[in-house]
């Protein structure tokens, strides 16, 4: 069996694919890679379909050994990648021989590195996906040293691709559409456009922000309603939470705006301390 062995998971490493949409009515989040752009790219570089499962390694640090020859690729922020200790580089297809070890360093910017391997990580899917959902505990558990992960049948690596490493600037401008509950706030566009700071309490469930609280125009309680990935939910504190892939499927606080899908990958790489301004359109 083609497989890889986890020698060191680094800070926190999870198996992720493009998630399990379609179960929100049962309370199951979409989950999946937070930076889908980077996972898709890593998969293309290794000849996989874009939806194949890879490893999402928070702050790199991951080290794995292969039982068979594979093509591997590491994407996300630029990061030091070594094969048996020799520098190999990120954002490129890397031929790795059976028995060799691939190790990620720590990125100097950004948060999440993605490792794709030809054939994809072939652990048993749960509800149609191999993604770990950290809120509900569905999917393969966080990786530990000694874990052996099966690999699927490899495809044919493509030659050229648009290969850019993720930039993780200190200040992000994030496009949003106002609603569904922008009318619950005084000047929601102005409030969201003011500066926010990503806090250390952020995770795969949501990005928690600090700044000048949004002011409510409507008192009272909102009957629970469905929420989407990218929803900017505002609890009574007035400090927004941007829901990421493992978000709860319904919520009782108003959502002032929704982040455009194309901007979610950048939020997945926003370290605590990153400044964010939302640009409503």
């Amino acid at each position: 069996m083609r497989s890889l062995e986890v020698l060191d998971p680094g800070r926190y490493a999870l198996v992720e694919d493009l998630g399990r949409p379609g179960y929100a009515h049962l309370g199951v989040a979409p989950s999946g890679a937070l930076d889908t752009t980077s996972l898709r790219l890593a998969n293309r570089l290794t000849g996989n379909p874009e939806h194949a499962a890879g490893i999402e390694a928070l702050l790199g640090g991951l080290s794995v050994r292969f039982t068979a020859a594979v093509t591997a690729a590491v994407t996300g922020p630029a990061v030091d990648v070594r094969i048996d200790g020799r520098p190999a580089g990120s954002h490129a297809p890397l031929p790795v021989r059976a028995g060799q070890t691939l190790t990620l360093g720590t990125p100097s910017a950004g948060l999440r590195c993605y490792l794709a391997v030809s054939g994809g990580i072939a652990v048993e899917p749960v509800l149609g996906s191999r993604s770990r959902d950290v809120l509900s505990g569905i999917g393969p558990p966080p990786l530990h040293a000694g874990d052996v992960l099966p690999l699927g049948e490899p495809g044919i690596p493509v030659g050229a691709d648009v290969v850019v490493s993720v930039r993780a600037p200190a200040e992000l401008v994030v496009p949003v559409t106002l609603g569904p509950r922008d009318d619950w706030f005084d000047d929601p566009a102005g409030g969201l456009a003011a500066g926010w700071t990503v806090t250390a309490e952020s995770n795969r469930v949501g990005l928690r922000l600090d700044g000048t609280p949004l002011r409510r125009a409507v008192d009272g309680e909102l009957p629970s309603e469905g929420v989407v990935t990218g929803a900017i939910q505002v609890p009574p504190s007035g400090l927004p939470v941007v829901f990421l892939a493992d978000h709860p499927t319904t919520g009782g606080y108003p959502v002032a705006a929704v982040v455009k899908t194309a901007a979610l990958s950048a939020l997945a790489q926003a370290r605590p301390g990153t400044r964010i301004r939302f640009r409503p359109s």
Partner: protein
């Protein structure tokens, strides 16, 4: 009824009542346009993810006073009424604990919507004396299978979690199993009854 924008690919249908939401939900479920990815009922709303234009057209043409009537699925749960808050619930309702059990088992509930955790259903149909506020301070640990109530809802904790609902008892039924088909015992629209066992 009013549509609210919810990002580029989704929209929230704000309904005037839970009944209106159910009618809209049943109408969309019966046709299920293929572009619809997720259809998430809320307490007074329906979130449509994907296929928003198709759903809008469908609902504009529909007679929501007469929604398609599909036979709802019926689920009966055996419950041991030995919950930590049974006496509190009885005291606040001004009745005996036996009367609380009679009231809770005598009603037929409907899964209005889900959330909080996979397989957690918010069930409406709670008799008026049992509509009571949640605990002032939530428990850090509520065991799986606990049957509770809060506000207008009753429900069952699918797995151990923190929680602030008043606890009536517990069931040994499996509420959520990701490897089962369907994975959740409760889906929106299902009818639910509770039966007292010792």
């Amino acid at each position: 009824m009013r549509w609210r924008r919810c990002g580029k690919d989704a929209a929230l249908l704000d309904c005037d009542s839970l009944d209106q939401m159910r009618a809209a939900h049943a109408t969309v479920l019966a046709a299920r346009p293929p572009e619809v990815v997720d259809l998430v009922p809320g307490a007074r709303s329906l979130l449509v993810v994907g296929g928003v234009a198709a759903v809008r057209a469908l609902l504009e043409a529909a007679d929501l006073a007469h929604p398609p009537s599909a036979e709802p699925r019926e689920v009966t749960l055996d419950v041991r009424y030995d919950g930590e808050d049974l006496s509190l619930i009885a005291a606040d309702a001004g009745i005996s604990t036996d009367a609380v059990v009679d009231l809770h088992t005598g009603a037929v509930y409907t899964v209005a919507f889900t959330g909080f955790a996979p397989g957690f259903g918010y069930l409406t149909g709670l008799p008026a004396p049992l509509r009571q506020p949640r605990l002032e301070s939530p428990r850090t640990r509520v065991p799986a299978g606990s049957v509770g109530l809060a506000g207008e809802f009753t429900g069952v904790y699918p797995r151990e979690s923190p929680g602030g609902w008043r606890l009536l008892g517990h069931t040994s039924a499996t509420l959520f199993d990701p490897h089962a088909d369907p994975p959740a015992l409760f889906a929106p629209g299902d009818r639910v009854r509770f039966r007292s066992v010792r």
